[in-house]
């Protein structure tokens, strides 16, 4: 008997190790085939004539790109449309979001990314940039009704927010130590502004003129620091992959500048003075895509893993911690609402039905946003991200657990209840001593399943800037652009963590339900 179990365990481990090895080999293969940086070649603008190119861009980064009447407009959009017209190629715009657009570029789903992206040395290791088309700057804004924060000095001990992978984030992180604040990063501009309005962050660092444009659209913020020039924007193609398109863009851009069309476009969004300033700033600027190639040597997969693991382990810790906290609450909710549902009181049972219907019928993200951004604006007091996250996960999972508990109770032979009641035990005693011990045995596999689902669902909390595993991965590949390999690493970590947790849960199950 014992040797049987040992064999079984050994087989399970052998299989697990084999799977991990396959994953590792695949990963090494991927790393080997990843494009190596090579010298920029000179492209032929004429070769783009008549071709169609896919343009990846952000969802909302006004005034560079945003939707108006279902059409993408903004400085970036008008520039690329004008360039395409000048050079005679066609474009197809895909509004993907900043990070997703870069991922799409890396995997050749789009040909070029135009998303108010700053030209940085890190990015040059992976992409080739066009000549600069805009000089950006960093500004800080606070909630319109906040009179306490007037400069960086007032940020001591506070939290500020920036957009993942943006210049604002880089700038904020560069100065975090100096002024003693912490930086939270989120994926969407709108999320960033909600963080400030709900009091979850006191200030936002963002690019000029994006912030200025938002304020002019009454986004509830006000700008409190002057613009600090911080890099230039360029359009990016995969390194060494699209030299013709890049050449066409550079050629088109210089035509637009010399014809005055560039100034007209910028003036439409930033006014005449802003446009003149930009023309002066970028005229004659050339991007040297070869400049940093020797500085940045790409590390292999194992090197990447070594660099990434500290941050990913913090993410894993947060993922596991919020899952455990939320799961305990969800279990209590699930048992309570499950019992209410099978009770004899129609009203109480109805309450349980409504609870399950609401939380099973709405997406987790809606509740995450509601608890983190909505509730603070209702109660006038910020909500801790752990509280918002745990509420979201536990209320959602509680609804599913309530159904599992109800199902398990109903799966116990009705004769058991009749046997108990006919002996004079009341309903509560019968439930506690006879029905629930048997129901818990029936429910356990589904409960463990729900735990596993919750671990994975917790990654949705990255949308409100909760520092869980996938969030940490996003932070990493926003800086190193090793999207596929980082995600692979995250996948393996999730897999191992879930396998171990399932194994532990099964041991508990066996101990409790002999």
């Amino acid at each position: 008997m014992i040797s049987d179990i040992k064999t079984l365990l050994r087989n399970t481990w052998v299989r697990l190790c084999a799977m991990l090895m396959i994953v590792a080999v695949t990963a090494t293969g991927l790393a080997a085939t990843a494009p190596a940086a090579h010298a920029a070649e000179v492209g032929d603008p004429a070769a783009t004539k008549g071709k169609t190119y896919k343009i990846g861009t952000d969802t909302t980064f006004a005034p560079f790109e945003y939707q108006e009447k279902g059409r993408m407009v903004g400085i970036d959009m008008e520039l690329i449309r004008s360039i395409a017209k000048k050079e005679g190629f066609k474009i197809e715009i895909q509004s993907l979001g900043f990070n997703a657009a870069l991922q799409a570029l890396s995997s050749n789903q789009v040909d070029v990314v135009i998303a108010g992206m700053s030209i940085t040395d890190e990015r040059k290791a992976t992409y080739d940039f066009s000549n600069p088309y805009f000089q950006s700057g960093i500004q800080m804004a606070v909630a319109a009704n906040n009179d306490d924060i007037k400069s960086y000095k007032d940020l001591k001990g506070r939290t500020v927010v920036a957009k993942t992978g943006s210049e604002g984030e880089t700038y904020a992180k560069e100065h975090a130590k100096e002024y003693g604040y912490t930086v939270t990063s989120v994926d969407q501009s709108s999320t960033m502004y909600e963080m400030v309005k709900s009091g979850n962050a006191v200030a936002v660092f963002d690019d000029y003129p994006v912030l200025a444009y938002g304020v002019s659209q009454n986004n509830g913020l006000k700008i409190v620091t002057p613009k600090v020039p911080h890099g230039e924007y360029g359009m990016a193609v995969n390194k060494g992959r699209n030299a013709d398109l890049l050449a066409a863009i550079d050629d088109g851009l210089s035509q637009l500048i010399s014809s005055g069309e560039y100034e007209t476009i910028i003036a439409k969004y930033l006014g005449a003075d802003g446009a003149k300033e930009q023309v002066k700033a970028i005229s004659g600027m050339v991007t040297d895509n070869g400049a940093t190639e020797t500085a940045k040597v790409k590390v292999g997969f194992l090197g990447l893993a070594r660099q990434s693991l500290p941050a990913l382990m913090i993410g894993l810790k947060n993922t596991l911690l919020i899952t455990v906290i939320s799961f305990v609450i969800a279990l209590i909710l699930g048992v309570a609402f499950g019992l209410m549902r099978v009770g004899e009181n129609r009203i109480v049972s109805g309450i349980s039905k409504v609870y399950v219907a609401i939380f099973r019928g709405t997406p987790i993200l809606v509740w995450a946003f509601f608890f983190y951004f909505g509730v603070p604006q209702l109660i006038g007091h910020s909500v801790n991200i752990w509280v918002a996250g745990a509420l979201t996960l536990s209320l959602n999972s509680g609804a599913y657990l309530a159904e599992i508990v109800r199902g398990a109770i109903q799966a116990v032979d009705p004769g058991q209840m009749e046997g108990a009641r006919s002996l004079g035990l009341n309903r509560r005693q019968s439930m506690a001593r006879v029905i629930l011990p048997q129901a818990s045995k029936i429910a356990m596999p589904s409960v463990i399943n729900q735990l596993v689902i919750m671990i994975k669902d917790s990654s949705l909390l990255l949308a409100i800037g909760f520092g869980e595993l996938l969030y940490q991965a996003q932070q990493l590949y926003a800086a190193n652009f090793r999207v596929t390999e980082t995600l692979l690493l995250v996948g393996v970590i999730y897999f191992v963590a879930i396998t171990i947790l399932t194994w532990l849960a099964n041991i508990v199950d066996r101990k409790v339900n002999r």
Partner: protein, 264 residues
């Protein structure tokens, strides 16, 4: 006891003065029971006196089991009165749990608690409901297991027992609550033939000790042997009742004659 009597007298003054009034355990008057549109009991009157052993026989679907389950409130009567030991089951003030303490029930499928050992099955209710001490409940349970011949199975789990053993444990479990009447709902129907004898022997012993019992049964030979009164039900009514001799040897109604010709 005297309090119960007073209560019962107040509820049933129309039957006061009857010869056996003082030892009435269960009184059923004009009982109707419907499931949706289907009426399965169509006006049944029944009085169970102390020490009686009543066997209810009849074809399937006659409402025998439903009648029995109404007697301890497992089914609610659609109309009519059921008075158990002076407690009217229709009275919202009557605590049904208190009534059930006094009415033992043995089921066709035993309904032993699967999550506890034999001894725990027996001691659970005495400890929870009668607040008996662990040792007291255990001692009594062991005596009962002794009488049903299963003392060595005290620590076994129900799933390891045969059907006949399970049913004897179930009887011991009911007896542990010192009931004043025992209800048997086809107690041997789910058993293999060779197991039936052991269970019937236990019931026979109870009858000898004077336990008041109502049994729904298909064991005609057994009914003839232990019953003080046999009730033949068909299509939701009591078609005929009498002594075993009257019912089995001198049936009057055509339906009873037809039924007996099939089962004997």
């Amino acid at each position: 006891m005297s309090e119960n009597n007073v209560k019962r007298m107040m509820l049933d003054d129309d039957m006061a003065g009857g010869a056996g009034a003082d030892d009435v355990v269960i009184e059923v008057k004009n009982l109707h029971k419907s499931y949706g549109n289907a009426e399965v009991i169509k006006g049944v009157d029944l009085t169970v006196h102390r020490g009686e052993v009543i066997c209810i026989i009849g074809p399937s679907g006659a409402g025998k089991s439903t009648l029995l389950r109404c007697l301890n409130g497992l089914e609610r009567a659609t109309s009519g009165h059921i008075v158990v030991n002076g407690h009217d089951l229709n009275d919202p003030k009557v605590n049904i749990d208190k009534v059930r303490e006094q009415v033992g029930m043995v089921f066709q499928h035993f309904n032993l608690f699967n999550n506890m050992s034999v001894i725990d099955n027996i001691t659970l209710a005495p400890r929870l409901v009668h607040k008996e001490s662990e040792t007291q409940a255990r001692e009594h349970a062991m005596q009962l297991l002794e009488t049903v011949g299963l003392a060595e199975k005290a620590d076994a789990m129900p799933r390891s027992l045969s059907g006949g053993q399970k049913q004897r444990v179930a009887i011991a479990r009911s007896l542990a609550m010192h009931p004043m009447v025992m209800l048997f709902d086809e107690a041997t129907s789910a058993l293999d033939p060779e197991m039936v004898g052991d269970v019937l022997e236990v019931i026979r012993e109870l009858a000898r000790e004077g336990m008041t019992m109502v049994l729904v049964t298909h064991e005609m030979g057994f009914a003839r042997e232990v019953a003080t009164r046999v009730i033949f039900t068909d299509a939701g009514v009591i078609e005929e009742e009498g002594t075993p001799d009257q019912i089995f040897n001198h049936p009057r109604s055509e339906r009873l004659k037809a039924f007996l010709s099939k089962v004997l």
